[in-house]
């Protein structure tokens, strides 16, 4: 299965760079992005699975879940979120793959290139969860059952399964 990892964040804003640090630990094709924009949808469409990694102030622990597609279409800014990107990829480019988002707890976004204790403390856990997911995605091409099959059906929250 061709899997694409997209890490999101500004590496000059302390914890905001945690996604890039995690992606660097994974042996998979990845792309570091400052923010998600609509044209990312065209890149997503070329893969069987996409995994977004992002720092998040609102989560207490590392979460890894399927991207829920809800075309909210925020009109506010130049940026979009994983849901919007996947929705665009599906409708505009026929993306039929799996999409996941890994959110890493973070709270320090002041200028600087060092990760704060919160993000740093969750890096290993996030990398471990992502490796398991990537491993399962690799097997998915021959095993069309189990938690990932359920994930494709949208019936399983991977957090608990992996």
């Amino acid at each position: 299965m061709r899997t694409f990892v997209m890490s999101i964040g500004n590496e000059l804003r302390s914890d905001d760079g945690v996604a890039h640090a995690i992606a660097a630990q994974l042996e998979v094709h990845s792309c570091a992005l400052f923010q998600l924009t609509p044209e990312v949808a065209a890149e997503v469409a070329g893969y069987d699975a996409v995994v977004f990694i992002d720092a998040d102030v609102e989560v207490e622990n590392v979460t890894l879940e399927q991207v829920s597609v809800a075309a909210s279409g925020s009109p506010l800014t130049h940026s979009t979120g994983p849901s919007e990107v996947v929705e665009l990829a599906k409708i505009l480019y026929g993306f039929d793959g799996l999409a996941f988002v890994c959110r890493v707890p973070a709270n320090d976004f002041k200028p600087g290139q060092r990760l704060g204790p919160r993000a740093l403390g969750h890096m290993r856990e996030a990398a471990k969860k992502l490796r398991l997911l990537l491993h399962d995605l690799d097997r998915f091409v021959v095993e069309e059952s189990g938690p990932l099959a359920n994930a494709r059906n949208g019936t399983t929250r991977l957090d608990s399964d992996l």
Binding site: L12, A32, L33, F34, Q35, T37, P38, E39, A41, A42, A71, S72, G73, S74, P75, L76, T77, H78, E84, E87, L88, I91, L92, Y93
Partner: protein
């Protein structure tokens, strides 16, 4: 009783702002203002840093047009070194600047403004976005996404990354341009020219349904300012400043961009963090001027490329001497995209672009440097002062969006007077925002004047009654 209508935040633009409209007792618009409510302060942040760090630092001002800041900053650095950079470096900088204009305009036109233009100003707000557009015309949106991808692809190929590329600095650029990069770029060009042509036809086909908006959404005479080349043609990287008026008369010609501060002044208003630049000989506010796509097409005598020249001749027919309707920023933007794509194609065949010499080496030779270029939203100036060790002592950034500040305020007021009534519906309010979107303002870029902003503090009593006003004027 008088009323105030507030739109906050203003949507589909870069940064944070609000619009307020004051209505009188009869429900008529008394005043309308565009307030920029965010503050960045890069002029202060850079103090004490080595000047050669400036392109990297200044690129962080903006995620949409970082290349413009890298270029203006690199050129200010060139001046501090006192060097003329090699032709290959100049052409590489030109290439990336064209790519940036292309991708930024694609974002503005296809992602942010097309929902208004193709779905209608009165379409439901929840549908008036790219997802609504996707339901109506997928191919149109796909082509917009591809055009932005093309611009970003060039920036990434040459600059190393698509946002905040740091490939250029004082004295030139860091890597040679290669035939592999050329081969990647040329394959996008035919499709891009075709897509822009289709978008132009599409926009022109709907303009008739926006007659009222064209006539009343920022239609007023003003000065226009832009960089032009020696022959008076469109120019984005190096040239002289030309200023024309609302009738197309030349007000000033061959002004030196390195001395912009001798003919451009900056005023402040208490309601906005953004400066109000003006042409000094005319004073403030009479000397306000517009910059960006509309201004460039008004000020330049020709484009200098085949397709863009044809479109520009037609464009100029829309005004008498000058096109004064800000609604036509959209049309101007598409013509510029066409021009930039044609220029990119020309550069791909230019042997100088591939030459080995890309850096002029020198130590610090001046204590003051100025760099300018045409950013997607208009003329951009960076002015730096350094000490004997090359550490920044002061910076003055005159940003394109700020130069349209007064025009944006006038546009909001004109739009409010024409379209607003005492009980405004969503379509009326959207027109106020759309008036601002014509300018595609980048507010993150344009709010840096720490310590020079006027400040007004309203002290109110428990029931909200005014008690005292404290003012700090500049």
């Amino acid at each position: 009783m008088s009323r105030r209508i507030v739109i906050e935040p203003v949507t589909r633009l870069e940064g944070h702002a609000k619009i307020t409209v004051q209505l009188d007792d009869a429900g008529q618009v008394r005043s309308a203002r565009f307030h920029v409510t965010e503050f960045r302060g890069f002029e202060k942040i850079c103090e004490g840093r080595p000047f050669h760090e400036m392109p990297g630092l200044m690129s962080r001002i903006c995620g949409i047009c970082p290349v413009s800041h890298v270029l203006a900053s690199s050129k200010a650095g060139d001046m501090l070194l006192g060097v003329e950079i090699p032709p290959a470096a100049t052409k590489q900088r030109r290439l990336v600047n064209y790519a940036q204009v292309l991708q930024s305009h694609a974002l503005s036109f296809f992602h942010l403004s097309s929902p208004d233009l193709l779905l209608g100003m009165d379409s439901p707000p929840e549908k008036r976005n790219i997802f609504g557009l996707m339901e109506q015309d997928r191919e149109f949106l796909r082509s917009g996404i591809r055009l932005r991808q093309f611009g970003q692809q060039i920036i990434e190929l040459v600059g190393g990354k698509r946002i905040h590329p740091g490939w250029s600095g004082p004295g030139g650029v860091h890597e040679r341009f290669t035939t592999r990069q050329r081969d990647e770029i040329v394959k996008w060009i035919p499709e891009s020219i075709e897509s822009i042509g289709i978008a132009l036809d599409r926009l022109k086909s709907v303009l008739d349904s926006f007659r009222e908006e064209v006539a009343h959404m920022g239609n007023f005479p003003s000065l226009f300012l832009a960089t032009v080349n020696e022959e008076g043609g469109l120019e984005y990287y190096d040239g002289v400043i030309r200023i024309t008026d609302g009738s197309g008369n030349t007000i000033a010609e061959a002004l030196d961009p390195h001395r912009f501060y001798t003919y451009l002044g900056e005023a402040s208003e208490s309601y906005s963090f953004m400066k109000f630049p003006f042409y000094q000989p005319f004073g403030y506010p009479q000397g306000h001027y517009r910059v960006g796509p509309l201004a460039r097409l008004n000020v330049a005598k020709f484009a200098g490329t085949y397709h863009a020249d044809r479109e520009m001749r037609e464009f100029k027919q829309r005004g008498e001497g000058a096109v004064c309707q800000s609604f036509h920023f959209h049309l101007a933007r598409l013509i510029e995209m066409l021009h930039c794509t044609e220029r990119i194609e020309e550069l791909m065949e230019d042997p100088e672009l591939f030459e080995e010499a890309i850096q002029a080496k020198a130590s610090l030779n001046r204590r003051e440097g100025v760099g300018s270029c045409e950013a997607p939203r208009g003329t951009l100036f960076h002015r730096y002062w350094v000490d004997k060790d090359g550490l920044m002592t002061k910076a003055d950034l005159l940003i394109a969006t700020a130069q349209n500040n007064q025009a944006m305020n006038l546009s909001v007021e004109q739009t409010a007077r024409r379209f607003l009534d005492a009980e405004p519906d969503q379509g009326m309010l959207n027109r106020l925002e759309a008036a601002i979107r014509c300018y595609d303002p980048c507010l993150s870029c344009s709010t840096h004047a720490l310590g020079r902003m006027p400040l007004v503090v309203d002290v109110t009593g428990p029931a909200g009654e005014p008690v005292r006003q404290i003012r700090r004027e500049t």
